[in-house]
Symmetry: C2
Subunit: 754 residues, 2 copies
């Protein structure tokens, strides 16, 4: 068991590495050559141009303004500087609400930490159980003297812990309630203040039943003309355009090559550039590059046109789903919320996702299929969570020294060396697991896609749920109880249900030091690494040096990344749960959690302002999930506390704690009823207000033209750049000039040099 000293050393090491990351970041971000890595958001907004224009040759790459180095930490106050409404305008509501999760953590755990140190630490410290038993048992560290372990069995002091647990739960619920209320209001204000958007008028209709006499399009038209006569405006059928999308993507790559060679030829007109026809332009016959790509592009254009005609004319290419638009927001709100026919498995209507947010592949799944897919994925998720170690153990058993010698005989002598052998034997199994864990979010996302969600935001939310379950079982419980998840499951079944909570509960105080270290490595140093963006930094410079041929390529090489809700949110939830579990048990963990939340808040606020570019805007529809998972963690912590206390000779008073999970669950139900619909439904009153306002302001608006191309599959859009509609809207209205924005945009813009 680690002593207080060990923890201090670990804290120092992690603090130092975090500070090293931060210093590296502070210096690297000032170099103009890294500008596109650390400020991509502003490039995408069009406010910041290439910084390489008006400098000297060296100034293009290195910042020679020494005074700026003196203010190297001023990104921190700057990150906090932008007020929230401006932040929402700048980065979208999703991002602004996402960083409020960290704020929520601060709001919950800062007062809890103060209270716990004020009330529980003295009570634990003066418990003296460990002092008394020192002679006959193992030695205990000072950390344990601060924890509940130091209170003698059956002591009256446990009443303090019980009272504090109630207080913490109450405070958490109170904070969650206030936060839910604020975010629901933010969402409604956001929706209300939004300019006209296609999804406000549009409903996604799925499972259109086949009709022997009419095409899908006619059938939809007739159905809605009959059943929504006063409100139906138009509809947009969905084409199955996967093949076409592949051709278009290939053509785009060819066009880039073509531009590259033309540029090359322009700069050096004496020599026409040549390429080879084989793989990657390395093998094969030498040909004139410009002519070669011109003919290739012509060829692909023909193919594309054929495929386009085929898709447009083939009735089988139309999937039984459509985006139906209405004359008013009111009409769309009504259609989205009502049932159309007596058979609830056909003519399913729901709010259309934002055009950017549509996941086109899943629009055509029949109802029974959806159900079967859900069943299969639930079973698969169960096996993945509890039995994922089996295939990994299998791979680990294959990837050993013997198999390496078998497959790569020339390495035989090398791997026979004892030092190399030991390294491989110690390293390979861990690597296999690590690779699996890296691919896990992708696996979960694939499973969510199979389940048939129709929007990217829905997919993200679903994957986050899955990942949370995985982390809960395999990281949290897996760290507390030794053994695989499957062994835990066996225990849970074979033991009395109370026994399991007792086992887990009594192990918890012992694992405090482990989790403190975890928080420092994964939380502190991990977040500092996030702000440094090491991978995108390296990737950008690699691409910029070897691959960038055109300005378009540089645009593509700039990888702003985005907040990956499906991965990062479940990880935050782990910290919430740790905080709740340890608050009444080992209060010493709380300061580490509080630092994590504060630091993360700072870093991610900086990132969403300067870096990330979200792919879609869902208007914070993920908040009910966050709320639910925080409460799930809270309830688990309450049950574990009961398990812990009941092993400490306080069976009777443990009964007092039974009310906690019940009340918390009730609170969850209450909040669900009170707020959740704000994230799912669009109230008619709001719709009516916006409609009325719009009629008054723009009586001559032709909505049909506005909506015409909104929900066309990306490959059918005119503009090759696939600029999302919503961004178009945003650009009409110039961003409010913030101090930062005006400072940055004062740099001269020039995008046209390669």
């Amino acid at each position: 068991m680690a002593t207080l000293g060990d923890i201090c050393v670990s804290a120092a090491v992690n603090l130092l590495s975090a500070i090293a990351f931060l210093l590296a970041f502070a210096i690297l971000r000032l170099q103009p050559i890294n500008d596109r890595v650390y400020f991509p958001k502003w490039y995408l907004k069009g406010i910041r141009g290439s910084p390489t224009s008006s400098r000297t040759a060296v100034g293009k790459f290195v910042n020679l303004d020494y005074s700026s180095y003196l203010r190297f930490l001023n990104w921190m106050p700057a990150a906090l500087h932008m007020p929230e409404p401006e932040l929402i305008d700048h980065a979208g509501l999703d991002s602004a609400v996402y960083i409020r999760i960290y704020l929520l953590g601060l709001k919950i755990f800062a007062p809890v930490a103060v209270l716990a140190f004020g009330a529980l630490v003295p009570v634990n410290w003066t418990g003296r159980r460990l002092n008394a038993s020192k002679s006959k048992e193992l030695t205990f560290s000072n950390i344990d003297k601060l924890s509940i372990s130091n209170v003698p069995d059956g002591s009256k002091r446990f009443w303090v812990h019980i009272g504090m647990s109630y207080l913490f739960s109450f405070w958490t619920c109170f904070t969650l309630y206030r936060e839910y209320k604020i975010i629901a209001a933010m969402r409604l204000r956001f929706l209300a203040s939004e300019r006209r958007r296609p999804d406000q008028f549009t409903v996604l209709v799925r499972n259109v039943p086949p009709d022997p006499d009419e095409s899908v399009s006619e059938h939809i038209e007739h159905f809605f003309c009959v059943n929504h006569p006063d409100h139906y405006l138009m509809h947009q059928v969905v084409y199955n355009a996967n093949k076409l999308a592949a051709i278009v993507a290939k053509k785009r790559a060819m066009i880039n090559w073509h531009i590259y060679y033309e540029n090359k030829y322009e700069r050096n007109p004496s020599q026409r550039p040549v390429t080879r026809t084989g793989m990657l332009g390395i093998f094969g016959k030498k040909v004139d590059a410009i002519n070669h790509y011109t003919s290739l592009i012509d060829n692909l254009s023909k193919q594309e046109e054929e495929e386009r005609q085929k898709v447009r004319n083939d009735p089988d290419a139309i999937v039984p789903a459509a985006f139906v638009s209405f004359k008013t927001r009111w009409g769309a709100a009504v259609c989205a919320q009502t049932q159309q026919t007596s058979n609830p498995t056909i003519w399913l209507t729901e709010w259309a996702p934002e055009p950017r947010d549509v996941y086109w592949d899943n629009l055509a799944i029949p109802y029974l299929d959806l159900n079967l897919r859900k069943l299969l994925m639930t079973v698969a998720m169960f096996f993945l969570t509890f039995f994922f170690m089996i295939p990994i153990a299998l791979v680990q058993s294959l990837a050993n020294i013997e198999s390496i010698k078998h497959v790569f005989p020339f390495l035989a002598s090398l791997v026979e060396k004892p030092s190399v052998k030991n390294f491989i034997q110690g390293f390979l199994p861990g690597l296999t697991l690590k690779i699996f864990l890296i691919f896990l979010p992708k696996i979960l996302m694939t499973m969510s896609k199979i389940e048939g969600f129709t929007s990217l935001s829905g997919l993200d939310r679903r994957s986050a749920s899955k990942y949370y379950l995985f982390i809960l079982v395999n990281v949290f419980l897996g760290s507390v109880v030794t053994g695989t998840a499957f062994q835990q499951l066996e225990q849970l079944i074979d033991q009395p249900s109370t026994e399991f909570t007792k086992t887990v509960g009594s192990t918890i105080p012992m694992k405090a030091t482990f989790f403190i270290t975890y928080v420092m490595i994964d939380g502190w140093a991990g977040i500092a690494a996030e702000v440094l963006r090491l991978t995108p930094l390296i990737m950008f410079h690699l691409k910029n040096t070897f691959l960038v041929k055109t300005e378009l390529d540089r645009q593509a090489a700039m990888d702003p990344g985005c907040l990956d809700f499906s991965i990062s949110e479940p990880r935050i939830q782990l910290y919430f749960m740790l905080g709740h579990v340890y608050a009444p048990v080992t209060p010493l963990l709380l300061p580490f959690i509080v630092v994590f939340f504060a630091f993360s808040y700072l870093v991610f606020r900086h990132q969403i302002i300067n870096v990330y570019n979200q792919h879609y805007e869902s208007g914070a529809t993920f908040w009910p999930d966050v709320h639910r998972r925080v409460l799930t963690g809270l309830i688990i912590s309450q049950i574990l506390l009961m398990g812990l206390l009941s092993t400490r000779g306080t069976n009777k008073i443990t009964l007092v704690l039974i009310g906690q999970p019940i009340l918390t669950f009730w609170f969850y139900r209450y909040c669900k009823g009170r707020f959740e619909s704000a994230f799912i439904k669009f109230p008619l009153e709001e719709a009516m207000v916006k409609d009325t306002l719009e009629r008054a302001v723009e009586p001559t608006l032709n909505l049909r033209i506005y909506l015409q191309d909104a929900y066309v599959h990306p490959v059918f859009k005119r503009c090759e750049l696939e600029k999302p509609m919503a961004v178009d809207d945003e650009e009409e209205n110039p961003l409010i000039q913030t101090t930062r924005a005006s400072r940055l945009s004062s740099m001269p813009e020039s995008d046209n040099e390669a």
Copy 2:
């Protein structure tokens, strides 16, 4: 353990008593004097008049037509004679669907019984485990040789049971699916074929927010005019008229007395009737009865008028809820299914229940209150289910000989007699429990009322859920596992979760004889008692002799009763569960269950045709509950079978059974998605069809007049008799003349003699 012989004796006794009940019924129902007891439905329909007119003095009371006695069992084929569509027309969809629950039982268990006898009984019989162990263990009856107990531990024969279990589950699900489909179609057809009804156009709006400047009524008008401008027609506020209702009820009683004395005076004009002013007209000053009641009525009329004015004019008497009516069914369907404002706890809209079905007291409960009430009632239900024995034991300890002697000293000598003492000591505790069980449905109903449901049908459904839980825990599990529910709960918590199912599972085969006896007593004899209607028969004759003064009184004395869904449906569910639990274990139970379902179907079909008068028509909204509970029973039976088999040395093959509950649960989810909305929502397509049809047929319809008084609190209605609107509608359209109806209505009608 009972032998086959014991069961035969018990079966004979119960069969004989059932036959005795049936014979009594067959004779009693032919007596004209009992006509109002056995055919009240036809009186209420107005098709059958008092049968006492055209006969001789004796013929008024006794049926002298001997030939009719020869056909004394012909009510059975007659009950089956009426085709289903006519039955729906005659008794309503609720009743017609209710008896289909029995039919469902037949459909499930008749083939299962055949299969079980064909496949399982031979396998069990030739198992010979009990023969082998006869020498050293207890003797076993022949019943056990037919059950799974006769199969040796770890035998391969258990595969047959597993296969059969899957087959039974599949068959049950298939039948349930088909039935759900049929009933959803019946409901939709019923709703589609219905004539115009006020609830089709009306939405119940609750939690109208207070407005400082407007009255509730104005606020509602403005809100709906703004948000449903094209569809809003009118609204009807809800008055808090509890006090007024009490005055009206009192006045009605006085009017009856007045009529009674006037009739008396008319028949005997020589003497003005007198009464006493004191209690029940027995004590106090003698006064002239007619004048006395006239003045009383005048007095009450004044009070009533005052209260009526007060309610009408006092703004505080208006509760923040209203029935809002729309111009079209489409408009109402839209409003009922959508969210009105961004705050989902105000302006709550839902389909208005049928006017008869409204539970007026619960219309004004705020959102937070509703949540708190639900929480409290859930906790209360938990304690009621698991700890109900505690207060009963308390009462039992109080209600003993000593306390009787203490409270009634004059009985002291009597209760001291040994025979009386023994009787009381043996009888009182049982009586206390019995009284509790009689009052239990009332307690559950009160709990449901506290939860705040706004319709009688909702209250019934909710109470049924509670009662089912109680029966499941205290009757089923309580019979299988000895000990109180609380002790079971303790076991469940303290043992591994698998241990509990093992305990229960392994006890099940031993309890087969108990449940066979239970089915015969509660099922066979109980149902036969139901058709005899002994209590209403006695009550009617008592009232008729001593209390009936006017024709109105006789109408009131005639108690048709109704199908009490909240009590009888959970009891049927017990039979479903017994069937499922014993089908793979002791197939011998199945024939008893099949007979129960067949006999009940016959009896209840007769009852709904001739006797019961439902208070409301919900259009079979209870079916999803029935479906869910049958599946709950099925899943419980599947888990118990796993528990049973795992105690029989077949741990490995028991794993094969895990798929069953998962698949069944998935089936439940699938059906829920597929059919449930047909019972909750009103699809727009159907609404539009009916609207269009109506506009074409009756273009001049003034809906405002039609709806004017539909949702007025009963006390404000003009007609004193409180005839429900829907019945008015029915009477415009004469009932299709069935053979029974025409035969009955051929009796001359004369309602006017007292």
